[in-house]
Symmetry: C2
Subunit: 518 residues, 2 copies
């Protein structure tokens, strides 16, 4: 890559007296500061001031560079030493840096970068994009010092120009740990065969029997007494036979998650279109009086008045369920002797916006899940993940359910992480998914998702071990409404066919008849 | 009240040929149609066409009236008989009605109406408001037929001009059932005295001990293992000793409530400023790609892009918790022999936006509640309400907790209902609140709220009994996080002092130490 920057350094007053010293400084900078850290790379990979001109309080500069020390980073490097030099001798300060025009040239084609032109056109900042002789050139104009320091230019470039090697912000090649050594979909364990008693469409049958009723919200269901009894039985069995056996302690995790917490999760970079967003009302009695009057008079919800009365979206309805765990430990220091720490939560619904994808009782927008989250050294964390998975396998066998476990697709947090390589440590296989088979359907329904996150959340939430030892986190979600689906799909709706373990845990229910339904 | 209306009736074509018949019709109308239903009231309380003039296809009218048959209702009464008359003889139809100007005069002062001038000024529809000789006059202009039929004028008037007597939309005096024969705050039962072991600030102590930690969202808390164990113990005790004993069946109620369901509850007219509003994402990959890129580059959530990507608010986070029960039975017919129907839900958090009012662990925005809802004839419904309350009293005595129960303030649904008197039937006392005493504090913390709604939800959700017999609904909420607060405020944090019943139900917990907290 090549960079050409035209910009200015503005001093606190006229610097004409310092002209000779500035000339000298620049000649030196071209030999030292602007080449520092190049290592064995060619000098052309560094930065060089090729033109300069002092006009009263403004120093106009043209800097060219290769990709190791980019021209704008070079400009940033000049500020402090120049301030020191001129401050002492001339009582001159450097007031600000500014880039007027920044031309970036990126080689494309074989063994070079892949340039995403579609994406680039979505960045308003990139102007005059042209392609010629296997090179893409564009210009970014008018960058102030704060944007320079935020490194937003490097991030834009990283977005639009990708290589198989990934470099960090200083251009160093990184060990790309997020390139997984595993194949999503690869099956690592399967159950013995068991008898199944049902072949139809589980959702349709549940509807026909009146066990569930569709709720007006998309992908939402009202679960009646019969199916709730089964849900509670499965929950109890999983808690007693897996979760408590591994020593998880129950907590109550909040389920309304501030957007800033979700951003620390990297969920907003990964799957922002997959969540429900929540706004609190403003403190504005005037608007709400108007809203009520309008509603009373016109019998229609005045949605624009409502929108006027709401703050910007400040929350999401919990999507991952484990968010509060990391938040709880955020900026805290824990001694490794207290680890592993193992908490679980089963205090309420979590949500995914499935768009047009919600269907039946298996792919829903609102679901019950028991979420286990833990923290410890990498070995412990991996062992606990394995325990949740292995004990789930055993439990499913006891319940005479057919299952298989596969390597999962990249989890959401890697999605966001791909653009943000801060040397975060990842396990080889971040996600396993255990699925209950669904007779007559190729793919089973995912009932257990077991994850190890490496240092992803430890870094994101600034959690510290007392001796600065490495700690990782993991989480395993038991989708209880998914277990319901898989269970009924295999065992059917006749309780006689259900395994003893479930029958024993099942409460008797009395269900009222409705004349007009189901 | 006096009304003077200037408006038009538009025919489907020139009606000049029918002039004589129209004149005759109007003279008759003034004797019959416009006085119908007056009963013993003076004729001046009816409507009268005092001026009319046919101009091709348009009949210009001036109608004056008292408040029993208001002029605009008079205009509506003319349409059908006039259509019939002219249709047969002249093949003329009445195409539309329109009010050009409607002058309303309202007597104010002693024994007359109370006029809310501030409110009136908020209705853009009311023009030229003037006050003279103990009379308020205003004009409403340009009302089309659909707004006439929606009765929005009567509703506006009812909003701004109130009397101690309430009239229905035909001006009939109503039995004002929402004026309760009870005094909110009146205490109807109290507990014996029991020993208390704590006097401090419960929230502060829970924080000092590390039992809870503040979550970044307003009025939200992370409940750690110790307090969660107590929460689960109390939940179990209440379910086993009250809820299941009365025969409630557990269901899983959705917790994301579509706005149209909330409107049927009359919650939006009652307390719209007390809820969280939820928006789903639009199906617009373009915007979300832009959102992600912007977030990755600038490291700040681009809130305007996010707002562009969201639909209008379509849901609220459940505030009442019982909403799905009425929705479940909406438009269904149930035989009374299947009643009473008793369901309960404990499947997750519910929410109130408390604005600046949230404080401590007692007044929170996010809370756990067990909600019981039932339906049956008025006697059954009242008996069940009483049972939930009486058994809660007994349970609290067993737990050695001090409590008192008082008549509650008007519940939210009466708030909305005050503007909408459709002859809904209400019980004398719609709400009881049981409170646990908080040592050192005058008011206890409300832990049980027991409500009977009369026909409010039955009407709102169109639920029918097979023989069209009267059915009512009721609901009782057990605020579990409130029980926690009251319990710890009386019994303190030393488990030795807790009653046997709680100790027996309590799970052992192991709590990790954090070096930097609490």
């Amino acid at each position: 890559m090549k960079f050409k920057l035209k910009g200015t350094i503005t001093f606190s007053k006229d610097a004409t007296d310092a002209d000779a010293d500035i000339n000298h400084f620049i000649e030196n900078a071209n030999e030292e500061i602007l080449l520092k850290g190049l290592g064995n790379s060619d000098e052309s990979e560094g930065a060089k001031i090729v033109n300069w001109d002092l006009d009263e309080d403004t120093l106009h500069l043209t800097i060219v560079s290769g990709h190791k020390i980019r021209a704008h980073d070079g400009l940033l490097r000049l500020k402090n030493p120049l301030s020191q030099l001129l401050g002492k001798k001339y009582h001159l300060g450097v007031r600000k840096l500014h880039v007027d025009e920044y031309e970036v040239t990126i080689p494309v084609g074989e063994n070079e970068y892949v340039f995403d032109l579609n994406l680039a056109e979505k960045f308003d900042q990139l102007e005059d994009i042209s392609i010629k002789d296997n090179k893409v050139t564009f210009v970014i104009k008018d960058i102030d010092e704060s944007r320079l320091r935020k490194q937003s230019i490097n991030r834009i470039i990283k977005q639009v120009a990708k290589k198989d090697v990934v470099t960090d912000e200083d251009g160093e090649e990184l060990d790309i740990t997020y390139k997984l050594n595993s194949t999503p979909g690869e099956i690592i364990a399967t159950s013995p065969e068991f008898e199944t008693y049902f072949e139809g469409d589980m959702t349709q049958t549940a509807l026909d029997l009146g066990w569930v009723k569709q709720f007006p919200g998309k992908g939402q269901w009202f679960y009646g007494p019969e199916i709730t009894a089964l849900e509670r039985a499965l929950e109890k069995i999983i808690v007693e036979r897996v979760i408590e056996k591994i020593g998880f302690e129950e907590c109550l995790f909040p389920k309304l998650i501030p957007i800033e917490v979700m951003e620390k999760m990297k969920y907003l970079e990964g799957l922002p279109e997959g969540m429900y967003y929540v706004s609190a009302p403003k403190r504005d009695p005037e608007i709400f009086t108007k809203f009520k009057n309008d509603l009373i008079v016109n019998k229609e919800v005045p949605i624009d008045l409502l929108k006027d009365g709401l703050k910007d979206p400040g929350y999401v309805n919990a999507a991952a369920q484990c968010e509060p765990f990391y938040q709880f430990f955020s900026h805290e220091v824990i001694d490794e002797s207290e680890m592993p720490i193992k908490f679980y939560d089963k205090s309420g619904w979590t949500y995914r916006w499935e768009g047009g994808g919600s269907k039946g009782l298996d792919r829903v927008n609102e679901f019950q899940r028991i979420e286990c989250v833990w923290m410890g050294n990498p070995e412990e964390v991996t062992e606990i993940r394995d325990a949740t998975l292995n004990m789930s396998h055993e439990l499913a066998n006891e319940l005479e359910l057919e299952w298989y476990t596969e390597i999962g697709d990249d989890p959401f947090y890697l999605e966001g992480r791909k653009h943000d390589d801060r040397g975060i440590e990842f396990p080889d296989i971040p996600k396993y998914e255990m699925r209950l088979k669904v007779p007559g359907q190729e793919k089973g329904v995912a009932v257990v998702s077991a994850n190890v996150h490496g240092t992803h959340f430890i870094e994101g939430f600034s959690i510290k071990e007392a001796h600065n030892h490495r700690i990782w986190t993991g989480c395993t979600g038991f989708g209880i409404t998914r277990w319901l689906f898989g269970f009924l799909s295999q065992k059917g709706f006749d309780k006689e066919n259900w395994p003893k373990l479930v029958k024993e845990s099942l409460k008797e229910v009395k269900v009222p008849k409705i004349l007009t339904w189901p």
